[in-house]
């Protein structure tokens, strides 16, 4: 066996690389991660990335502040899973286990965010426009990869058929991105930009 095969890879890595098989196996076991720990860890990682990318140092103040600020993202994801499970789920898997398994599939995003933090830290501020170009071009990878993982999550963990999984994917995007757009629209920050076509 190669060194790579002998390393004790995390559940996150296995879900990222072999989502169908990993979710099949994981959904059979009981949840061991305490209540909502994975969503909280995801929020903390968002805070860490923010601290590394802005101040160039992981201060507790920035990590916790960033986690608090962006905790709406995992919160919206939890809401979308609860709704999708209720509307289209057929497996009867407990909600907490479903949430836990869903957040196991975040490696494409978390790895990409760490990559962005590293790139940002070594990009001088006057070259920030290059950083944005890299972000805009590379973000397609986590978007597409995480959709594939979510598809398998809905199919294998929540037992959905193909139409249900497709609808659940749409619901998830609508809840997470729709809420963010709604905030900017209702606070008057988006409408002028739409009107100006920017």
């Amino acid at each position: 066996m190669s060194i790579c095969a002998r390393l004790p890879w995390s559940d996150d890595a296995r879900v990222a690389l072999r989502p169908a098989a990993a979710y099949d196996e994981l959904s059979r076991g009981p949840a061991r991660t305490p209540f909502l720990v994975r969503p909280l860890l995801f929020a903390l990682l968002l805070g860490l990335v923010l601290a590394l990318a802005t101040a160039g140092r992981p201060t507790l103040r920035l990590v916790l502040g960033g986690a608090l600020a962006f905790s709406f993202i995992p919160a919206l994801q939890v809401a979308s899973i609860a709704l999708s499970r209720a509307a289209f789920g057929r497996s009867g898997i407990p909600l907490l286990l479903a949430i836990d398994l869903h957040f196991l599939g975040h490696l494409p995003w978390t790895a990409w965010l760490l990559f962005v933090a590293a790139f940002a830290s070594f990009t001088p501020p006057e070259r920030e426009y290059r950083l944005w170009a890299v972000i805009l071009w590379s973000v397609a990878v986590p978007i597409l990869w995480s959709r594939v993982i979510c598809w398998h999550f809905f199919r294998r963990v929540l037992g959905m058929g193909a139409p249900g999984a497709l609808a659940a994917l749409f619901v998830q995007i609508a809840i997470v991105w729709g809420s963010i757009l709604a905030f900017f629209l209702l606070s008057g920050q988006l409408e002028p930009r739409i009107l100006s076509g920017q």
Partner: protein
């Protein structure tokens, strides 16, 4: 043997501890030149609760770290975050935080500084400037590149207090359009305020472009009054100073932004590396509590179809 996950957690914790220890915010002393207090200011900063990434209170800390005496929090069409930032900075005796707004209309973006209530975006540029003045604030044309210049008619130009001549946008698109607009403004009114702003949202560009404000007094009112009277100097990205030649002479060589002491910089970098590696390790390596069976090694199974 220590598990990779435990080692990762220890690295992450150590990294955050070191990063927190190095979170030293330098003390600023007022710079006096020719009877003026010279304030280094960034008048165009976005915060969380808008499309900025940092909380208003974190902006106050980061502004001080970047050697800024004053910032204006200017979220798009709202002032809530700016008010929070001002309140917080007063509690910690931090830098001046001015309540501001980037009035974001389809045809123009206008920075309002020193206001209390949000100014509506549905009015013309001239009307918006008038409302800013009615609240006792100063009005600055934000990144007035060609696509944003059309809304500034003769009346608006006469009423504007200043315009951004230095903006990060110019690093990618050049500075000629900003220089041209400032020249137009200087023809339309006497002594407009040249402004350097970072338009900060995220990453490390806070204070990258800054304004040297020559105020008679160091408070918020003194700063806004100086903006209204054009008592500012800004260096555009070509290194050309803009502003009253006498103020440029008084300023001399602009002071360099503060830098960490070498030992602090090394420790901060160490904290960065430890926490980054620790976070990556936590994501990649299994811990004792993970459920996954190790009966199916990751690199020896057949490749499955993804869909």
């Amino acid at each position: 043997m220590i598990s990779p996950r435990l080692a990762s957690a220890a690295l992450l914790g150590a990294g955050i501890a070191v990063g927190t220890i190095t979170d030293v915010v330098p003390v600023r002393r007022p710079v006096l030149r020719g009877g003026y207090v010279v304030l280094e200011a960034d008048m165009h900063v976005h915060s969380f609760l808008g499309d900025g990434a940092l909380w208003p209170w974190d902006l106050a800390f980061e502004a001080r770290r970047k050697g800024l005496d004053a910032i204006a929090i200017t979220n798009h069409n709202q002032v809530l975050a700016a008010r929070i930032g001002r309140w917080f900075s007063r509690q910690i005796e931090g830098p001046l935080v001015l309540v501001g707004e980037e009035i974001t209309a389809p045809a123009y973006h206008l920075i309002a500084v020193g206001i209390e209530e949000a100014v509506g975006w549905r009015s013309t540029a001239a009307q918006a400037i008038e409302e800013v003045h009615a609240q006792g604030g100063a009005a600055i044309a934000a990144h007035p590149t060609r696509s944003y210049q059309g809304a500034y008619d003769a009346a608006a130009l006469r009423a504007l207090d200043g315009a951004e001549v230095a903006h990060p946008f110019a690093y990618s698109a050049g500075m000629q359009e900003l220089r041209d607009f400032f020249s137009r403004l200087a023809l339309a009114r006497a002594r407009p305020a040249p402004i350097g702003s970072s338009d900060y949202h995220v990453f490390s560009s806070l204070g990258l472009c800054r304004t040297y404000v020559f105020a008679r007094q160091a408070g918020e009112r003194g700063l806004v009054e100086a903006l209204r009277q054009g008592q500012t100097v800004a260096y555009d990205l070509g290194g050309m100073p803009h502003g009253d030649p006498e103020l440029i002479r008084l300023l001399g060589t602009p002071p360099a932004p503060p830098a960490d002491a070498p030992s602090i910089a090394v420790l901060a970098r160490l904290g960065w590396i430890c926490s980054w590696l620790g976070a990556l390790g936590l994501l990649l390596f299994r811990g004792a509590g993970d459920r996954y069976s190790i009966s199916t090694p990751i690199a020896t199974t057949k490749r499955e179809t993804m869909l």
